[in-house]
Amino acid sequence: MRRVEPDIALSQPSGDEIKTTTCYMCACRCGIRVHLKDGKVRYIDGNRDHPVNKGVICAKGASGIMTHTSPSRLRAPLKRVGPRGSGEFEEISWDEALATATGWLGDVRARDPSRLAFFTGRDQSQALTGWFAQQYGTQNFAAHGGFCSVNMAAAGLYTFGGSFWEFGEPDWEHTRYFLLFGVAEDHASNPIKTALGKLKGKGVKFVAINPVRTGYGAIADEWIGIRPGTDGLFVGSLIHELMRAQKIDLDYLVRYTNAAWLVIEDKGSPDDGLFARDAEGKPLAFDRFAGGLADAARPGVSPALTGTFKLADGRSARPAFALIAERYLADEYAPEKTAAATGVPAETTRRIARELAHAAFEQQVTLDIPWTDSTGRRHEKTVGRPVSMHAMRGISAHANGFQTCRAIHLLQIVLGSIDCPGGFRYKAPFPRPAPPANRPAKPSKPGTPLSGAPLGFPQEPNDLLVDRDGTPQRIDKAYSWDAPLAAHGLMHMVITNAANADPYPVDVLFLFMANMSWNSSMNIPAVLKHLTATDPATGEYRIPKIIYSDAYASEMVAYADLILPDTTYLERWDCISLLDRPISGPEGPADAIRQPVVEPDRDVRGFQSVLLDIGARLKLPGFVTESGAPRYPGGYADYIVNHERAPGIGSLAGFRGADGQAYGRGAANPNQLNAYIEAGCFHQHKLAPDQLYYKHANPAYLEWAKQMGFIGEAKPVVFQLYLESLQKFRLAARGHGAVVPPPGARARIERYFDPIPFWYAPFESETDDAGGFTFSAITQRPMHMYHSWGTHNAWLRQVTAENCLYMHRGRAVQLGIADGDWVWIASAIGRVKGRVRLMEGVNPDTVWTWNAIGRRAGAAALSPDAPEATRGFLLNHLITELLPEREGGYRFSNSDPITGQAAWYDLRVSIEKVATGEARETSPRFEPLPALPAREPEAAL
């Protein structure tokens, strides 16, 4: 019989129109193409020209349609009508919503602006929100960094003026050996995946250091199933071995770091442990050729890295490097000594050290790129040590994360691999001076702006925001003795502190895009109580007013009094700015916009435009013209184009100047957004070849960066292996200086503010082993879910609608636990029920689950019997926000003592099988949230 095949339309267009914009299914900021059909979104794929994703797209990005059409979308401003937390709301007009917000905020500003706590989540408009806080006059501003990864940002910025964490990346093209510490996904979601694919193709060795072997770990050439919180020891042992093997790049240390700077040794004196400086304050080194002290930065100095030297005043001093080497060569960092704690066999550690040394020193990369360094020396070639690393929350979400991250940077630096071919590479606007120059602004008076940005980088006790008696001046106690270098604030403490009026109460809590009554808080049962706690005397809520902007019906919505509904990411203008968190690559700075590809079909407004509107209504300086009219009547798009941070420098660096020809600095260009749209909604500037490497000591780059306004001075960035700032806090703990810690905090500062990176046990493991909490409990991000954003996406939730507790098979068998059993997971503060899945690829002392799958019944427009609510669970209920009482009854937050980074992954738990007959569903379960008032949800696509 003749086979007749049906005719198929092989060339149907993907839509009527394709618009470019920037994805926001996560914060990776990939370029996407949105294919529209009949005015509706039909298909989304990656933009091939885009520097971030180069055409690929992830599971979330490709599911954008379902987020954009989710029935969970808010539809109109809401006013709370029932008790807080009941979820009872009434739709109101924008006029009423804005008038209410302005009324509340204006009142507070006139009385005491610090009574506004304004905290924003993972948005990408901190340049605007921070500026709003500054002009409003509240120091109580931060974004989510404090609970996210300030340890990464701060450790890098204080150490070498850059960071993993979006400020830099491995030189994927040339690297020959790659270590990945504690990363499941990260914000460089697509770029890391693309890069790993390339490394695998080239046979470059990739080592995953992670208690769990999934995702990236699955394709690693070697998996090191380290015990949580012990990476500092493992890295210390690698440094130990490299030093013992004499595989250290001494030239690099001398050229680019403070290794040779002399550290004063004078126990008890106020400058013990500080750098010896000359009369002008320049750090000194010992010049081996001249045989005397010299300005460490002077070209031609041949500084000593070992030895003890006499200072002019007769005291002795030693090169910082000698102190560092002594620490790491000590027995406590010997692989045999660290093996028990880390779970990494000594032979493995030694082998990795050997392989690192081999890659760094025997496989040097030489590129045909001539450049001139900051001492004026011309290099005909650019030479690099092709060893690279990346680390994220597996390191940062522990209370020892700052020092551990510094240790990783120390490892990179002793191998000579920062900003060289094959090593780690900065992304503009980094590097910046280390430590960063800007300090946090102090509180202001009623009705006045702050003198500067609320967030900054303290370098000494004077920079702290504390009263004379040490009382914190910020609601989250950032920049206090609890967390002196809390460069991103402590968003995870705001609700607790505000409800406890510790250190003082707030009048208005204003939150944006963070699900603070659920997956982004610790100890949720307590947080829910705080949010609804009332003052017995007045009957008023302890947190009197809560304004919240979300785009979806999240758990947090139920706890706010006024809801400002945001648009979806496909319906608004946004700006991914060099002033904030841009999309730069090592080849050059890049920024991007988001354009509304469809108009909202609900009564919602972009939050940034709303914030500009509120600012104008409050008549905040900068938000209004001389005459008091709104300065940016066109909303956020108007601001993006016309707002200038410094003369000629605005939100977007591309297409500036009246003719759109200027880059970086130039007059506002009224046509700028169109120019971006035409260019695919991004702009990338390519650095010249001689600017590409060694940017920290490369005048060709530094001069240019200064012109662009990235840095104040074109001075080389000197890596701070020995971090003097920390010693200054320590000296204060010893009683030196005007600003000293209260007695209860002294021992803590003394212990943790070590200027040389070191390892200490995370706090929970110190306290909780006794309680039988013998497992570390951690979470991982599923690659296809973005926190709670994924669970209302009709496609993504099919992939994961419930989570399990993963356990090591051998350990489970010992405990009589079988695959599929339900267990109680208990910590010192509570217990959660979940179902067990057994696996081999997990550290035996660790249990873990996928993050933020569990949801409260009724949230996110899911039916109350959704698996997310009945079987999915959060470990957050078990994570304490406050450490046990110590030092006179005081409870420090469960955070890194240096930066205030939330220590999510220090959690310790016990695991016990549920009794027979117990319900096979999760616990605790909270009162289901009712549906929000809404017209019939539209049928999904």
């Binding site: 086979r3 095949e5 049906p6 198929i8 339309a9 092989l10 993907s14 059909k37 039909r42 298909y43 989304i44 794929d45 091939r48 055409g55 690929v56 797209i57 992830c58 599971a59 990005g61 490709a62 599911s63 969970s72 790993l196 694919g197 695998k200 193709g201 060795k205 072997r213 999934t214 990236y216 699955a218 394709i219 050439d221 070697e222 998996w223 071995e241 030093m243 013992r244 093997a245 004499q246 001494l250 001398v254 490097f321 002594e326 060569l329 000590a330 050997r354 392989e355 025997e362 690659m783 496609w795 939730r797 099919q798 696996m839 081999e840 039916s863 959704a866 698996p867 999904a940 696509l941």
Partner: protein
């Protein structure tokens, strides 16, 4: 048309690299996205926001653990139609809706003639066919037949949606009938294999096995020499070396 065509010269298919796949599901959702509106539309979802969310997908990603203890490893495993050369899913079809294209070997379901008897899904050992309740017909990977020849698209976009999406580059598309094609060469180099060859369906799609791990690699031990040599403490030896090295 249930009869299979004469073996086609062109055998379009996918090559999936299990050594590179991180299990991110990008291929699964981008497939769902493209095909929800393309040739395979609709791909129905049931109870999308309710207690039992499930729907029709043409590509799904498993995650396995293989082996025990220190020898174990995690392998992510995407699974879609393999466009077999001699598949029973075609021959069992009573209506001829299920067919294999003579020109390029793509196995398709004619959405206009399928009666939704599900027999073909029983005949497929790979679980590659999914019945769509909403539409009452059988769905399966189309190898994005409405993309790969699509003249309204840029030539570099004329690849399956899953291949275009895959961030790690673990998916390759091409003509496995041409021994000189990039995919054929890849399969030859990396010992690409068939799933369940004993069924005799002769899958066109190939899988590339995970490579041997490099967790035992021996770099020259010479690097360790200084570790053992010489008197004094670790620090003494190290400092002596530093001094010597710096004065060179």
């Amino acid at each position: 048309m249930t009869s299979l065509p004469e073996a086609s010269a062109k055998k379009l298919g996918l090559v999936i690299d299990l050594d590179t796949c991180v299990g991110c599901h990008a291929c699964a959702t981008s497939c769902k996205e493209w095909n929800s509106n393309g040739y395979s539309a609709p791909l129905t979802d049931d109870d999308a926001h309710g207690g039992d969310p499930h729907g029709t997908w043409l590509n799904r990603v498993h995650s396995y653990e293989v082996g025990d203890g220190a020898e174990s490893r995690t392998v992510n495993f995407p699974r879609s139609c393999l466009h077999c050369e001699t598949p029973a899913c075609v021959t069992v079809c009573p209506t001829g809706a299920s067919y294999k294209r003579a020109s390029d070997g793509i196995v398709l379901v004619n959405p206009d003639t399928c009666i939704g008897c599900k027999l073909c899904s029983w005949a497929c050992p790979y679980g590659a066919r999914e019945y769509d309740h909403g539409d009452g017909t059988m769905k399966k990977c189309t190898l994005c037949v409405d993309r790969i020849y699509n003249e309204t698209m840029a030539p570099e976009d004329r690849v399956p949606a899953c291949v275009r999406a895959c961030p790690t580059g673990a998916r390759h598309f091409g003509d496995l009938g041409d021994p000189q094609s990039a995919v054929s060469i890849l399969v030859a180099e990396r010992a690409g294999f068939d799933l369940l060859p004993e069924f005799g369906y002769n899958p066109v799609n190939k899988y590339l096995p995970p490579r041997a791990r490099k967790d035992r690699e021996v770099t020259p031990r010479a690097i360790e020499a200084p570790l053992r040599a010489g008197p004094g403490s670790n620090a003494d030896r190290f400092f002596a070396w530093v001094d010597k090295a710096l004065s060179r």
